[in-house]
Amino acid sequence: MINNFADLSRQSLNPAGIAVGDTVTPMDIKLTHTIITATALASMDFMPVHHDKDYALAQFAPDIFLNILSSNGFVSKFLTDWAGPNAWVKKINIKLGVPAVPHQVLKFTGEVLSKNTVDNECHIEVSVQAANDSGNHAIGTALITLPL
């Protein structure tokens, strides 16, 4: 299907094969003005600091920067790119740090902190870190579930 953007080759992780300490497949997002603007508007966030560079500079920001909804959106993508289409993202808890600005790569990394069986599901807690050249943009934990 020409207009289908979905990656139909995706496989889901088998919970039995996941262990504490496993690395979440790293994800690099080379942020651009276009991506920051497009994600802000897709999340219905029209604050000028997320699309208007003149306004952002007047607010003493280094440039336009990623909105928080989009930080969470990229965390969700990071998790399901790794765990696969059967993964349900249940929690994302992040502490916010330096702004994520254009021309820098936002690097997502994480590892499995715990794995538990709850109600016929596998609950996997992972650490999440999104960092750029200036430091941590977001750092925290997330919980995903996979069916057993």
Partner: protein
């Protein structure tokens, strides 16, 4: 009931401001957004989102693929939960309103802090919880509750308060679908270094 607002008193008397802020704990507050989603969960907005994020997870788009997963059909990206209840923006004057898409209520805690001089805002923490996948047709509404206000603190940006609120997301049957705890620092830029 929350305490009476007296901006001049709050400027002069920190205890009166602190008491006012604490009197709001647990109360429903409107952060400037409408509480009902402008549109139900829908595929055009999902497509806009997955293209912006280049999120190629097939459960968001491909009905045939999604049918064979645990979800038994297409779902919306979980992090879109907030996007569904974002109010329609009033673009005219958005910059003058500090970027808020809707006029801020000057009598709510954040509005009062603005008027007392704590005009700066910096988001510090977000905790999201998703109870169930959202699907096309779900129509969300939200209630927002003030959870906590810290004592006045000295920070690198000036003196300020950490304000935490919880947004409860509910569906058309009034069932909870998720929640977000959000913390911001409301600071007075003129007190930097004090």
């Amino acid at each position: 009931m929350p305490n009476v607002i007296d901006i001049e008193l709050f400027k002069a008397d920190q205890q009166a401001l602190d008491d006012f802020l604490q009197s709001w704990i647990g109360h429903k507050m409107n952060m400037g957004g409408t509480q009902i989603a402008p549109d139900p969960v829908n595929m055009p907005m999902i497509r806009h989102w997955i293209d912006a994020f280049a999120d190629r997870n097939p459960v968001y788009e491909d009905a045939g693929f999604a049918e064979k997963t645990r979800f038994r059909g297409r779902i919306a990206p979980p992090a879109m939960m907030q996007a569904w209840i974002m109010p329609r923006p009033i673009l005219e004057g958005i910059g003058e309103r500090g970027g808020s898409g809707q006029p801020l209520n000057p009598d709510m805690p954040l509005g009062v802090l603005d008027r007392v001089g704590f005009t700066g805002i910096l988001a510090t923490n977000s905790e999201l919880e998703f109870d169930r996948p959202l699907r096309e047709g779900d129509l969300l509404h939200t209630d927002i509750f003030l959870e906590s206000v810290s004592p006045r603190k000295k920070t690198g940006l000036g003196q300020g308060y950490f304000v935490t609120w919880i947004t409860e997301f509910m569906d058309q049957d009034n069932q909870a679908v998720g929640r977000q705890s959000f913390r911001v620092l409301k600071f007075d830029p003129s007190t930097i270094g004090q």
